[in-house]
Symmetry: C2
Subunit: 193 residues, 2 copies
Protein backbone atom coordinates (compact mmCIF):
# COMPACT_ATOMS: atom_id res chain seq x y z
CA UNK A 1 0.00 0.00 0.00
CA UNK A 2 1.26 3.46 -0.88
CA UNK A 3 1.68 5.91 1.95
CA UNK A 4 1.58 9.67 2.47
CA UNK A 5 -1.41 10.33 0.27
CA UNK A 6 -2.47 13.88 0.52
CA UNK A 7 -5.89 15.32 1.01
CA UNK A 8 -5.67 16.50 -2.61
CA UNK A 9 -5.37 12.95 -3.90
CA UNK A 10 -8.45 11.81 -1.99
CA UNK A 11 -10.40 14.78 -3.37
CA UNK A 12 -9.21 14.10 -6.93
CA UNK A 13 -10.25 10.44 -6.70
CA UNK A 14 -13.55 11.51 -5.18
CA UNK A 15 -14.20 13.90 -8.05
CA UNK A 16 -13.69 11.15 -10.60
CA UNK A 17 -16.00 8.74 -8.76
CA UNK A 18 -18.71 11.25 -7.85
CA UNK A 19 -18.83 12.59 -11.42
CA UNK A 20 -19.32 9.01 -12.62
CA UNK A 21 -21.65 7.57 -10.02
CA UNK A 22 -23.18 10.49 -8.12
CA UNK A 23 -22.67 11.55 -4.51
CA UNK A 24 -24.93 9.09 -2.73
CA UNK A 25 -23.76 6.06 -4.69
CA UNK A 26 -20.10 6.82 -4.00
CA UNK A 27 -19.00 5.33 -0.70
CA UNK A 28 -16.07 6.69 1.27
CA UNK A 29 -14.57 3.20 1.36
CA UNK A 30 -14.57 3.00 -2.45
CA UNK A 31 -12.77 6.35 -2.67
CA UNK A 32 -10.14 5.34 -0.15
CA UNK A 33 -9.66 1.97 -1.82
CA UNK A 34 -9.21 3.56 -5.25
CA UNK A 35 -6.89 6.23 -3.82
CA UNK A 36 -5.10 3.44 -1.91
CA UNK A 37 -5.42 5.25 1.39
CA UNK A 38 -6.05 3.67 4.79
CA UNK A 39 -9.55 4.13 6.17
CA UNK A 40 -8.56 6.24 9.14
CA UNK A 41 -7.04 8.97 6.97
CA UNK A 42 -10.37 10.23 5.71
CA UNK A 43 -11.46 11.69 9.02
CA UNK A 44 -8.07 13.32 9.49
CA UNK A 45 -9.02 15.54 6.59
CA UNK A 46 -12.82 15.78 6.60
CA UNK A 47 -15.32 15.90 9.42
CA UNK A 48 -18.07 14.43 7.25
CA UNK A 49 -18.88 13.13 3.78
CA UNK A 50 -20.67 16.42 3.14
CA UNK A 51 -17.57 18.46 3.90
CA UNK A 52 -15.65 16.15 1.57
CA UNK A 53 -18.29 16.64 -1.14
CA UNK A 54 -17.88 20.40 -0.91
CA UNK A 55 -14.11 20.03 -1.36
CA UNK A 56 -14.79 17.88 -4.43
CA UNK A 57 -17.13 20.54 -5.80
CA UNK A 58 -14.47 23.22 -5.22
CA UNK A 59 -11.94 21.14 -7.13
CA UNK A 60 -14.39 20.71 -10.01
CA UNK A 61 -15.07 24.45 -10.11
CA UNK A 62 -11.37 25.28 -10.19
CA UNK A 63 -10.74 22.71 -12.96
CA UNK A 64 -13.59 24.17 -15.01
CA UNK A 65 -12.43 27.74 -14.42
CA UNK A 66 -8.95 26.75 -15.63
CA UNK A 67 -10.58 25.56 -18.85
CA UNK A 68 -12.90 28.46 -19.59
CA UNK A 69 -11.17 31.45 -17.99
CA UNK A 70 -8.49 31.83 -20.71
CA UNK A 71 -11.26 32.21 -23.30
CA UNK A 72 -13.45 34.47 -21.16
CA UNK A 73 -10.50 36.77 -20.54
CA UNK A 74 -9.08 36.86 -24.06
CA UNK A 75 -9.75 40.51 -24.83
CA UNK A 76 -8.44 40.08 -28.37
CA UNK A 77 -11.81 38.47 -29.10
CA UNK A 78 -15.23 40.15 -29.10
CA UNK A 79 -17.28 39.34 -25.97
CA UNK A 80 -19.74 36.95 -27.63
CA UNK A 81 -16.88 34.97 -29.18
CA UNK A 82 -15.22 34.72 -25.79
CA UNK A 83 -18.45 33.38 -24.38
CA UNK A 84 -18.93 30.92 -27.22
CA UNK A 85 -15.41 29.57 -26.86
CA UNK A 86 -15.84 29.23 -23.09
CA UNK A 87 -18.74 26.86 -23.76
CA UNK A 88 -17.05 25.03 -26.61
CA UNK A 89 -14.09 24.06 -24.44
CA UNK A 90 -16.50 22.50 -21.92
CA UNK A 91 -18.27 20.64 -24.72
CA UNK A 92 -14.94 19.30 -26.01
CA UNK A 93 -14.14 17.99 -22.55
CA UNK A 94 -17.55 16.32 -22.25
CA UNK A 95 -17.07 14.73 -25.68
CA UNK A 96 -13.65 13.50 -24.53
CA UNK A 97 -15.43 11.70 -21.69
CA UNK A 98 -17.66 9.85 -24.18
CA UNK A 99 -20.60 12.05 -23.23
CA UNK A 100 -20.57 10.76 -19.68
CA UNK A 101 -20.00 12.37 -16.26
CA UNK A 102 -21.07 15.89 -17.34
CA UNK A 103 -21.12 18.91 -15.05
CA UNK A 104 -20.81 18.32 -11.31
CA UNK A 105 -22.83 21.48 -10.60
CA UNK A 106 -25.77 20.11 -12.59
CA UNK A 107 -25.40 16.58 -11.27
CA UNK A 108 -25.31 17.67 -7.63
CA UNK A 109 -28.01 20.29 -8.24
CA UNK A 110 -30.58 17.62 -9.05
CA UNK A 111 -29.25 15.02 -6.61
CA UNK A 112 -28.52 17.14 -3.54
CA UNK A 113 -30.46 20.44 -3.57
CA UNK A 114 -33.34 18.95 -1.61
CA UNK A 115 -31.08 16.87 0.65
CA UNK A 116 -28.54 19.35 1.92
CA UNK A 117 -28.99 23.07 2.42
CA UNK A 118 -25.20 23.45 2.59
CA UNK A 119 -24.79 21.88 -0.86
CA UNK A 120 -27.70 23.87 -2.24
CA UNK A 121 -26.21 27.18 -1.17
CA UNK A 122 -22.77 26.33 -2.54
CA UNK A 123 -24.32 25.25 -5.86
CA UNK A 124 -26.40 28.41 -5.98
CA UNK A 125 -23.23 30.48 -5.44
CA UNK A 126 -21.46 28.55 -8.21
CA UNK A 127 -24.32 29.11 -10.66
CA UNK A 128 -24.67 32.78 -9.74
CA UNK A 129 -20.93 33.31 -10.17
CA UNK A 130 -21.02 31.75 -13.63
CA UNK A 131 -24.14 33.74 -14.56
CA UNK A 132 -22.45 36.94 -13.36
CA UNK A 133 -19.39 36.33 -15.57
CA UNK A 134 -21.58 35.77 -18.61
CA UNK A 135 -23.78 38.77 -17.80
CA UNK A 136 -20.68 40.98 -17.79
CA UNK A 137 -19.79 39.77 -21.28
CA UNK A 138 -23.36 40.32 -22.49
CA UNK A 139 -23.29 43.83 -21.06
CA UNK A 140 -20.02 44.45 -22.88
CA UNK A 141 -21.53 43.08 -26.11
CA UNK A 142 -24.51 45.36 -25.66
CA UNK A 143 -22.28 48.41 -25.16
CA UNK A 144 -20.37 47.43 -28.33
CA UNK A 145 -23.69 47.28 -30.17
CA UNK A 146 -23.17 43.56 -30.88
CA UNK A 147 -26.42 42.53 -29.13
CA UNK A 148 -29.76 44.26 -29.51
CA UNK A 149 -32.03 42.33 -27.20
CA UNK A 150 -34.57 43.77 -24.86
CA UNK A 151 -33.70 41.61 -21.86
CA UNK A 152 -31.52 42.21 -18.82
CA UNK A 153 -28.03 40.70 -19.29
CA UNK A 154 -28.26 38.77 -16.02
CA UNK A 155 -31.63 37.27 -17.00
CA UNK A 156 -30.32 36.28 -20.42
CA UNK A 157 -27.15 34.88 -18.82
CA UNK A 158 -29.23 32.73 -16.47
CA UNK A 159 -31.22 31.50 -19.43
CA UNK A 160 -28.01 30.59 -21.28
CA UNK A 161 -26.57 28.72 -18.28
CA UNK A 162 -29.87 26.87 -17.77
CA UNK A 163 -29.98 25.92 -21.45
CA UNK A 164 -26.41 24.69 -21.35
CA UNK A 165 -27.05 22.55 -18.27
CA UNK A 166 -30.20 21.18 -19.90
CA UNK A 167 -28.36 20.46 -23.14
CA UNK A 168 -25.70 18.58 -21.14
CA UNK A 169 -28.49 16.59 -19.48
CA UNK A 170 -29.98 15.64 -22.85
CA UNK A 171 -26.52 14.88 -24.27
CA UNK A 172 -25.75 12.58 -21.33
CA UNK A 173 -28.94 10.62 -22.00
CA UNK A 174 -28.51 10.61 -25.77
CA UNK A 175 -24.76 9.87 -25.56
CA UNK A 176 -24.29 12.43 -28.30
CA UNK A 177 -22.98 16.01 -28.33
CA UNK A 178 -25.77 17.00 -30.72
CA UNK A 179 -27.87 18.82 -28.08
CA UNK A 180 -24.77 20.82 -27.12
CA UNK A 181 -23.94 21.68 -30.73
CA UNK A 182 -27.55 22.80 -31.10
CA UNK A 183 -27.17 24.95 -27.99
CA UNK A 184 -24.18 26.69 -29.62
CA UNK A 185 -26.05 27.06 -32.91
CA UNK A 186 -29.19 28.37 -31.26
CA UNK A 187 -27.57 31.07 -29.14
CA UNK A 188 -24.46 32.05 -31.07
CA UNK A 189 -25.61 31.61 -34.66
CA UNK A 190 -29.28 32.52 -34.28
CA UNK A 191 -30.55 34.29 -31.19
CA UNK A 192 -27.50 36.45 -30.38
CA UNK A 193 -26.18 36.68 -33.95
CA UNK B 1 -50.01 -3.30 9.79
CA UNK B 2 -52.25 -2.83 6.79
CA UNK B 3 -52.53 -5.72 4.37
CA UNK B 4 -53.23 -6.29 0.69
CA UNK B 5 -51.13 -3.42 -0.60
CA UNK B 6 -50.99 -3.46 -4.32
CA UNK B 7 -48.05 -3.09 -6.63
CA UNK B 8 -49.44 0.33 -7.54
CA UNK B 9 -49.14 1.55 -3.97
CA UNK B 10 -45.50 0.51 -3.74
CA UNK B 11 -44.78 2.31 -7.03
CA UNK B 12 -46.62 5.45 -5.87
CA UNK B 13 -44.66 5.55 -2.61
CA UNK B 14 -41.45 4.89 -4.57
CA UNK B 15 -42.18 7.81 -6.88
CA UNK B 16 -42.59 10.18 -3.97
CA UNK B 17 -39.36 9.03 -2.31
CA UNK B 18 -37.24 8.81 -5.47
CA UNK B 19 -38.36 12.27 -6.61
CA UNK B 20 -37.30 13.61 -3.21
CA UNK B 21 -34.08 11.70 -2.53
CA UNK B 22 -32.93 10.21 -5.82
CA UNK B 23 -32.79 6.59 -6.92
CA UNK B 24 -29.60 5.47 -5.19
CA UNK B 25 -30.41 7.11 -1.87
CA UNK B 26 -33.84 5.47 -1.73
CA UNK B 27 -33.68 2.04 -0.19
CA UNK B 28 -36.26 -0.63 -0.86
CA UNK B 29 -36.76 -1.03 2.88
CA UNK B 30 -37.66 2.64 3.26
CA UNK B 31 -40.24 2.34 0.49
CA UNK B 32 -41.83 -0.75 2.00
CA UNK B 33 -41.82 0.80 5.45
CA UNK B 34 -43.52 3.98 4.21
CA UNK B 35 -46.00 1.95 2.16
CA UNK B 36 -46.48 -0.30 5.19
CA UNK B 37 -45.83 -3.44 3.18
CA UNK B 38 -43.99 -6.56 4.38
CA UNK B 39 -40.49 -7.01 2.97
CA UNK B 40 -41.20 -10.15 1.02
CA UNK B 41 -43.86 -8.47 -1.11
CA UNK B 42 -41.38 -6.43 -3.10
CA UNK B 43 -39.92 -9.36 -4.96
CA UNK B 44 -43.37 -10.72 -5.71
CA UNK B 45 -43.78 -7.69 -7.95
CA UNK B 46 -40.30 -6.75 -9.11
CA UNK B 47 -37.28 -8.82 -10.01
CA UNK B 48 -34.88 -6.00 -9.15
CA UNK B 49 -34.65 -2.43 -7.92
CA UNK B 50 -33.97 -1.39 -11.52
CA UNK B 51 -37.22 -2.96 -12.75
CA UNK B 52 -39.00 -1.16 -9.93
CA UNK B 53 -37.32 2.13 -10.92
CA UNK B 54 -38.62 1.74 -14.46
CA UNK B 55 -42.17 1.22 -13.13
CA UNK B 56 -41.74 4.40 -11.07
CA UNK B 57 -40.58 6.28 -14.16
CA UNK B 58 -43.60 5.00 -16.11
CA UNK B 59 -45.92 6.24 -13.35
CA UNK B 60 -44.24 9.66 -13.42
CA UNK B 61 -44.57 9.87 -17.20
CA UNK B 62 -48.26 8.99 -17.07
CA UNK B 63 -48.89 11.54 -14.29
CA UNK B 64 -47.11 14.24 -16.29
CA UNK B 65 -48.96 13.32 -19.49
CA UNK B 66 -52.25 13.61 -17.61
CA UNK B 67 -51.25 17.16 -16.70
CA UNK B 68 -49.99 18.44 -20.04
CA UNK B 69 -51.95 16.42 -22.58
CA UNK B 70 -55.25 18.34 -22.15
CA UNK B 71 -53.41 21.55 -23.09
CA UNK B 72 -51.41 20.01 -25.91
CA UNK B 73 -54.58 18.61 -27.43
CA UNK B 74 -56.82 21.67 -26.99
CA UNK B 75 -57.31 22.53 -30.65
CA UNK B 76 -59.32 25.62 -29.72
CA UNK B 77 -55.94 27.22 -28.97
CA UNK B 78 -53.17 28.06 -31.44
CA UNK B 79 -50.26 25.57 -31.33
CA UNK B 80 -47.76 27.84 -29.54
CA UNK B 81 -50.30 28.65 -26.84
CA UNK B 82 -50.96 24.93 -26.37
CA UNK B 83 -47.24 24.41 -25.92
CA UNK B 84 -46.88 27.31 -23.53
CA UNK B 85 -49.75 26.08 -21.36
CA UNK B 86 -48.32 22.56 -21.33
CA UNK B 87 -45.16 23.98 -19.73
CA UNK B 88 -46.99 26.33 -17.40
CA UNK B 89 -48.97 23.49 -15.84
CA UNK B 90 -45.69 21.69 -15.06
CA UNK B 91 -44.26 24.88 -13.55
CA UNK B 92 -47.35 25.30 -11.36
CA UNK B 93 -46.91 21.76 -10.08
CA UNK B 94 -43.22 22.36 -9.33
CA UNK B 95 -44.10 25.58 -7.49
CA UNK B 96 -46.70 23.63 -5.50
CA UNK B 97 -43.87 21.34 -4.36
CA UNK B 98 -41.94 24.35 -2.99
CA UNK B 99 -39.50 24.15 -5.92
CA UNK B 100 -38.33 20.72 -4.84
CA UNK B 101 -38.43 17.25 -6.45
CA UNK B 102 -38.59 18.51 -10.05
CA UNK B 103 -38.74 16.27 -13.10
CA UNK B 104 -37.96 12.58 -12.65
CA UNK B 105 -36.69 12.37 -16.24
CA UNK B 106 -34.09 15.05 -15.56
CA UNK B 107 -33.20 13.74 -12.11
CA UNK B 108 -32.66 10.18 -13.33
CA UNK B 109 -30.96 11.43 -16.50
CA UNK B 110 -28.08 12.89 -14.52
CA UNK B 111 -28.05 10.24 -11.81
CA UNK B 112 -28.50 7.04 -13.83
CA UNK B 113 -27.53 7.53 -17.50
CA UNK B 114 -23.97 6.38 -16.88
CA UNK B 115 -24.99 3.65 -14.43
CA UNK B 116 -27.69 1.74 -16.27
CA UNK B 117 -28.10 1.32 -20.00
CA UNK B 118 -31.68 0.18 -19.43
CA UNK B 119 -32.53 3.44 -17.63
CA UNK B 120 -30.64 5.50 -20.19
CA UNK B 121 -32.62 4.02 -23.09
CA UNK B 122 -35.96 4.49 -21.33
CA UNK B 123 -35.07 8.10 -20.49
CA UNK B 124 -33.96 8.71 -24.07
CA UNK B 125 -37.31 7.35 -25.31
CA UNK B 126 -39.17 9.61 -22.86
CA UNK B 127 -37.26 12.70 -23.97
CA UNK B 128 -37.63 11.84 -27.66
CA UNK B 129 -41.38 11.30 -27.23
CA UNK B 130 -41.75 14.69 -25.55
CA UNK B 131 -39.58 16.37 -28.20
CA UNK B 132 -41.66 14.73 -30.95
CA UNK B 133 -44.92 16.08 -29.49
CA UNK B 134 -43.50 19.61 -29.32
CA UNK B 135 -42.00 19.34 -32.81
CA UNK B 136 -45.46 18.49 -34.19
CA UNK B 137 -46.85 21.68 -32.61
CA UNK B 138 -43.96 23.75 -33.97
CA UNK B 139 -44.56 22.29 -37.43
CA UNK B 140 -48.24 23.21 -37.13
CA UNK B 141 -47.29 26.74 -36.01
CA UNK B 142 -44.96 27.03 -38.98
CA UNK B 143 -47.69 25.93 -41.38
CA UNK B 144 -50.01 28.52 -39.80
CA UNK B 145 -47.34 31.16 -40.38
CA UNK B 146 -47.05 31.76 -36.62
CA UNK B 147 -43.32 30.91 -36.52
CA UNK B 148 -40.73 32.11 -39.01
CA UNK B 149 -37.55 30.47 -37.84
CA UNK B 150 -34.95 28.83 -39.98
CA UNK B 151 -34.47 25.75 -37.81
CA UNK B 152 -35.89 22.24 -38.02
CA UNK B 153 -38.89 21.83 -35.66
CA UNK B 154 -37.37 18.75 -34.04
CA UNK B 155 -34.09 20.57 -33.38
CA UNK B 156 -35.91 23.56 -31.90
CA UNK B 157 -38.12 21.23 -29.85
CA UNK B 158 -35.04 19.51 -28.41
CA UNK B 159 -33.61 22.90 -27.56
CA UNK B 160 -36.83 23.89 -25.79
CA UNK B 161 -36.96 20.65 -23.76
CA UNK B 162 -33.28 21.01 -22.83
CA UNK B 163 -33.84 24.62 -21.76
CA UNK B 164 -36.86 23.63 -19.68
CA UNK B 165 -34.94 20.84 -17.92
CA UNK B 166 -32.04 23.24 -17.31
CA UNK B 167 -34.40 25.93 -15.98
CA UNK B 168 -35.90 23.34 -13.62
CA UNK B 169 -32.38 22.46 -12.46
CA UNK B 170 -31.59 26.12 -11.75
CA UNK B 171 -34.97 26.62 -10.08
CA UNK B 172 -34.38 23.62 -7.81
CA UNK B 173 -31.06 25.10 -6.68
CA UNK B 174 -32.41 28.64 -6.35
CA UNK B 175 -35.66 27.49 -4.71
CA UNK B 176 -37.44 29.97 -6.94
CA UNK B 177 -39.57 29.62 -10.06
CA UNK B 178 -37.82 32.64 -11.58
CA UNK B 179 -35.66 30.60 -14.02
CA UNK B 180 -38.83 28.86 -15.23
CA UNK B 181 -40.73 32.12 -15.66
CA UNK B 182 -37.73 33.38 -17.63
CA UNK B 183 -37.86 30.23 -19.77
CA UNK B 184 -41.50 31.04 -20.63
CA UNK B 185 -40.67 34.69 -21.28
CA UNK B 186 -37.64 33.88 -23.42
CA UNK B 187 -39.34 31.37 -25.73
CA UNK B 188 -42.96 32.43 -25.80
CA UNK B 189 -42.68 36.21 -25.48
CA UNK B 190 -39.38 36.76 -27.30
CA UNK B 191 -37.89 34.06 -29.48
CA UNK B 192 -41.07 32.47 -30.85
CA UNK B 193 -43.25 35.60 -30.56
Amino acid sequence: MKRAHSKDEIVQTGLDLILSKGFNATGIEAILKQANVPKGSFYNFFSSKEEFGLAVLDLFLSEMAALWRPFMEDVSLPPLMRMRKSFEVLITRFEGNNCSKGCLIGNLALEMSDQSEVFRKRLDDALQGWIGSLAALLEEAREDGAVHIDIEPVVLAENIVASFEGALLCAKVKKSVEPLKNFIHFYFEMFLA
